[in-house]
Amino acid sequence: MTPKYLLKRLGQAILTFLVTMTVSFLLYQAMPGGPTEAMRSVILSQSGGSVDIDRLNRMIQLYTNVNPDQPMHVQYFNYASDVILRQDLGTSFFKNEKVTTLIMQRIPWSMFISVYALALGYSLSIFLGVMTAYREKSRFDSTVSSLIIGLNSIPYYIVGVVLIYFLAIQNNYFPTGGRIGSGIAAGYNPEFMLSLVKHAALPAISMGALATSGALAMRGNAIRVLGEDYIRVAQLRGLRETRIATQYLGHNSILPMYTQFMIGIAGVFSSAVIVEEVFAYPGMGLLMFEAVKTQDYPLLMGTLIVFTAISLTAIFIADLTYTLIDPRISVGEE
C-alpha cells in the first residue's frame, strides 16, 4: 500500500464531494425566478396566509440554510459550513424534520439492497465472463452471451416490473413491495429475517441486472488473457483446471475491469431511485422520489449530497482493496 496513492484518491473523493455541494448550492440559485420566488408558493402552501418578503427569506434560511438576502459568497460560506461542519442539510418543507434525520432512517435499507445487488451483479458477471471465455465458441458460450446481450437491452426497472409480475403477482413467491411484512415484530427471529430477505430479494436482483453489464467486457478480457504464454505454461505444468481458471485467468482478467467496476458502484447506487419506487421499498431513493413530487427542495438536495457521499465512500473502500489485488499499485506505478 502506498500512502501516496491513497492520499490522492482521498483528495479526489473530497474534491468530488465539494463539487456536489457547490452544484446543489448553485442549483438553489439557478431555480427559475431565483430561490425566493421559486420556493415562495411551496412555503406559503405550508404555513398558509401571506408573509412579507423578510419573513419568507428567514423561513427559506431556516429550511434550506440559504439566505437569499445575503451576498452570494456569504450565502455560500454559510451553506458550506452548515453542510461540512454541522452536517446540517436543512429541514424538510413537509415533514418538519431535519433532512439528515429523515435520510439516516432510510440509509440502512438502501445500503442493504444496493450492497447485495453489487455483490450479486459483479460476482455473476465475473463468473459468467470467465466461464464463457473458457468455453469460447461452445454452445454454452453462445447461449450465455446472447442472454447477457438481451439482458443488457432491458432497463433494470423493466426487469423489476417483469419480476414483480411473474414472481409476486402470478405466483406468490415474493411480496410485491414494501420492506417488511405487516405484523412481524422486529428482532433476531427467523420470521423477521425471512421477511426481510424476501422483500429485498426482487429489488436487489433487478438492480443487480444493471451490474451484469460488465460480463461481456470480462469475457473479452479473459479471452485475451487465455492467449498469454503463462496460461499455456500453467497448462503444461499440469495445474488443476480450477486453479488456472481462478488464479491465472480470473485474477488477471479482473484487473483491467476493476476501475470499470468502481465506476459502476455509483450507477448501481443511484439506480435505487427508480427501483425503490417500482417496489415501493422505503429507502433513500423513495425519499428522493417523494421529495421531487412534493417539491421539497431541501430534502431533494440533501438526498443528492448523501447519495454522493455514500458512493464516494464505497468507491474509496473499493480503492483500498485495489491495492491488495494489483501488485503494481504498491510499487507506485499508475
Binding site: 468530488t16 442549483l27 438481451g150 437491452s153 432497463p155 428522493m288 454522493t308 464516494l312 468507491i315
Partner: protein, 341 residues
C-alpha cells in the same frame, strides 16, 4: 496537394499525398473508394448478422418516427372503445388504453420525441467526450491533461441519476432536445477516458512517432493518423450511449419526474403502472407494448454497436473488398494476402 516537387524534397507533401507508384485512373480510384467504403462494409454487414439485424431494427423505428407519424393519426381520448383487447380490430391492432386511445398510435407518436432525445444526448455526450479525450490524450502529462481528467473523475463518481433528477425537478424541461442534453451530462466521462487512453496508445504506434519525427504538423497527425483510428470507437460508443439515454429518459418518464407534455413510452408505462396494470389483465397490453419497444430499440443499438465493431475492422474490410485485391500496388494488399477469401 502541391504541384511542384522541385529539388527541395518536402516530407509533408509526400505524407499528405498518399503516393501510389503507378497512378490509377480516376475511374479506378472511384471504384476502389466505393469498394472499400460502401460495398465491403455492406458485405461484412450481410455476413455479420448482428449489424444487419441491429440496422434493420433501427431503420424500422426510424420509419415509425417519420413515415409512421404521417400514416397514423395522433391519438385522442375516445378514439376507440376503452380497453379493447389487442389483435381484434384493424383500427387498433394492439388494443386501447383506459382513455380509448389506440396503443399502437401512442407508440408511433412517441418515437420522434425519443429520437430527438437520443440524438441530442448522444451528440452532446459523445462530442464532449471526444473533445476532452483527444485534448487530454494529446496534452498528456501536462497541466491541461490532469485538469481535464480531474473533472472527468469528479463527474464519473457523482451518482448521475440523482443529479439528473434534481436538475430536471428544478428546470422541468419539456423540449425533448433539452431533456437529451440534460441526460448527456452524466454520460460523457467514461467515454472521455476511453478516448484518452486510445489516443495515448495510438500516439505510441510507430507510424505516428515517425510522422512526429518527420516534422508533420500536429493538425495533420490528428487528422490523418488519430481521428481515423478513433472514429470506430466513437461510433460504437455512440450506439451504447444512445441506449443509456433511452434507459434514463424512459426511466424518468416512468417515475413521472419529467413533465408529461407529449406521448412517451415511459409515460404510457407510468400511467399503466399507476393504474395497477400488473394485476388487471385487460390493461396489460398498455404496459407491455412500450416495454417491448424499449427492449427492441436498445437491443438493436447493442447489436449495431457490436456489428460496427467488425464493420470498422480494417483487416476484415480489406478481405471483403475485391478491387484492392486485384491491384498489386496498394498497401492494403499486404495485410490481406494472407487472409484470402
Amino acid at each position: 496537394m502541391s504541384e511542384a516537387h522541385s529539388d527541395s524534397f518536402d516530407l509533408k507533401d509526400l505524407y499528405d499525398e498518399d503516393i501510389d507508384p503507378d497512378p490509377e485512373s480516376r475511374a479506378d480510384r472511384a471504384k476502389r473508394f466505393l469498394e472499400m467504403n460502401v460495398v465491403a462494409p455492406a458485405r461484412i454487414a450481410v455476413d455479420d448478422w448482428r449489424a444487419l439485424v441491429g440496422g434493420a431494427i433501427l431503420a424500422f423505428f426510424l420509419l415509425m418516427g417519420t413515415v409512421g407519424v404521417w400514416l397514423v393519426e395522433r391519438p385522442t381520448s375516445g378514439d376507440a372503445p376503452v380497453l379493447a383487447a389487442p389483435f381484434e380490430s384493424l383500427a387498433y391492432p394492439l388494443g386501447t388504453d383506459v382513455f380509448g386511445q389506440p396503443i399502437h398510435a401512442q407508440l408511433i407518436h412517441a418515437t420522434p420525441g425519443m429520437f430527438k432525445m437520443i440524438f441530442a444526448g448522444a451528440v452532446v455526450s459523445v462530442g464532449f467526450a471526444a473533445l476532452v479525450g483527444v485534448v487530454a490524450g494529446f496534452e498528456h502529462g501536462t497541466r491541461i491533461d490532469s485538469f481535464l481528467m480531474t473533472i472527468t473523475d469528479v463527474v464519473i463518481t457523482i451518482p448521475g441519476l440523482p443529479l439528473i433528477i434534481v436538475i430536471t425537478a428544478i428546470f422541468q424541461p419539456e423540449n425533448p432536445y433539452i431533456v437529451g442534453v440534460f441526460l448527456g451530462i452524466d454520460n460523457w466521462p467514461g467515454l472521455a477516458r476511453t478516448v484518452r487512453s486510445q489516443v495515448l496508445s495510438i500516439r505510441e504506434e510507430s507510424y505516428v512517432e515517425a510522422s512526429e519525427i518527420m516534422g508533420i504538423p500536429l493538425s495533420s497527425i490528428l487528422r490523418r493518423d488519430i481521428l481515423s483510428q478513433l472514429m470506430p470507437y466513437v461510433m460504437i460508443n455512440g450506439a451504447l450511449t444512445s441506449r443509456r439515454i433511452i434507459f434514463e429518459s424512459v426511466g424518468l418518464y416512468f417515475l413521472g419526474i419529467l413533465p408529461f407534455t407529449t406521448f412517451n413510452w415511459g409515460v404510457m408505462m407510468n400511467l399503466a403502472y399507476e393504474g395497477n396494470a400488473l394485476t388487471r389483465p385487460d390493461m396489460l397490453p398498455w404496459m407491455v407494448a412500450p416495454m417491448v419497444c424499449i427492449f427492441l430499440l436498445s437491443f438493436g443499438l447493442v447489436l449495431l454497436s457490436q456489428g460496427l465493431d467488425s464493420l470498422f475492422n480494417v483487416r476484415l474490410r480489406a478481405r471483403h473488398a475485391k478491387t484492392s485485391k486485384k491491384k498489386g500496388t496498394s498497401k492494403n494488399n499486404q495485410s490481406q494476402a494472407t487472409g484470402g477469401d
